[in-house]
Amino acid sequence: MSSYRELLRATKAGISEVDAREAAQLDGAVWIDVREGDEWTEGHIPGALHIPRGNLESRIETTVPDHASTIVLYCAVGNRSAFAAKTLGDLGYDSVHSLVGGFTDWKRNGGEITMPRTLSPEKRTRYSRHLLIPEIGEEGQFRLLDSRVLLIGAGGLGSPASLYLAAAGIGTLGIVDADIVDETNLQRQIAHSLDTLGTPKVDSAKRAIEALNPDVEVVTYRERLTSENIDRILDDNWDLIVDGADNFPTRYLVNDASVWRGIPVVHGSIYRFEGQVTVFKPHEGPCYRCLFPEPPPPELAPSCAEGGVLGVLPGIIGSLQTNEAIKLAAGIGEPLVGRLLLFDALSTEFNEVRIERRADCPVCGDQPTITEYIDYVEFCAR
């Protein structure tokens, strides 16, 4: 039997202890703060990761999978980190060091500290299922909360997109739509309801979003997107655009503006039982004009109003767009850049085709020939 003091002494004798100066010389070291959550939120060493001592064994291998990594552990005064260092040594980590004097000495000696942003208890509860996912966590949730996403259209595609983006905690949602909610919309446009028939779609969508998540700021543009108003709308600093337009002139207009401004566009389109999704990330992948340099003749371009659409299809395609938007906003995963996803609801089949940036693209190519807005209606009516 040994007392705490004896155990601590024996533990410290068996591990490496470093002071701040020595620790700073450990190139590429991973710094881990093993204190409790409330201590961490009162300030920590910049760049450190946080794994409370109680979770260290279970989380270390997902955080630092390479056992040859150099690790610096710290706590408040250097005791918990000493026990933690012994544990990591037992787990097979070769180069683990405990910071002598811990955070207290670090701070006393004028070491730099940062105050982490923290979610309010309400937000922690609301987004708890995101916080549990390692790829998102608190940092990813902050990125979503800081994001500004512009939706072109609050119709079939915009409905699921606006609701799921709002639910995910996207901080600011812009919605461009000039339309009024009518009864034919309710077969698929789930952001609207009988209560909002006859009201502008942007207002109806705003109401639905605020009922779901009042933290989201909604900016409405009750107008049809044109060459005249697009710059004013995009001047509001949108991080990305979710395009759910229903016509070619708007698609090409959104494309050109987004390439010039470097704003990624999450593209979705639907007709009857089929849908297409992709992400146009300016200069990193193809743009809409690389995929379709020319619109089809009008007789081959019926809208859903003319040809019909299965009600759930925009739900599926709009949700796939939202998935891409959330990934881009959180900075995770592999976005659908350079890949066009095709969905067939009748056979329940997904297909994917590769799309490439064209060096001769008139907008994003090596020698662009279109550098200002054109007459998009005329271009699409040829």
Partner: protein
């Protein structure tokens, strides 16, 4: 024979079929065979020796324009996707 997937906006030209068959060892041969069998569909996609500019043709997921164009080889097991742009969209 290869499988050719017909996009919804061109199905009227294929008698409503979602898929049709056509044969050829290159995209050119295949589109010419398709034009012989289904002239209405063929002429929408292919005319005067070129693929219509508003239609993309994919062989096994690759855009033939990024490969050898009409000379892109086609195998019996290949799936060909004809893809014009879809207007969109939710009405708004």
């Amino acid at each position: 024979m290869s499988i050719v997937r017909v996009p919804p906006v061109l199905r009227a030209e294929a008698g409503g079929a979602r898929e049709v068959q056509a044969s050829g060892t290159t995209v050119r041969e295949l589109l010419e065979d398709l034009s012989d069998r289904l002239p209405a569909l063929g002429s929408r996609v292919y005319g005067e020796g070129t693929i219509q500019p508003f239609v993309n043709v994919y062989v096994d997921g690759e855009d033939v324009r990024t490969r050898d164009g009409l000379d892109t080889p086609v195998r019996d097991s290949s799936t060909i996707i004809l893809l014009p742009a879809m207007a969109g969209g939710s009405s708004w």
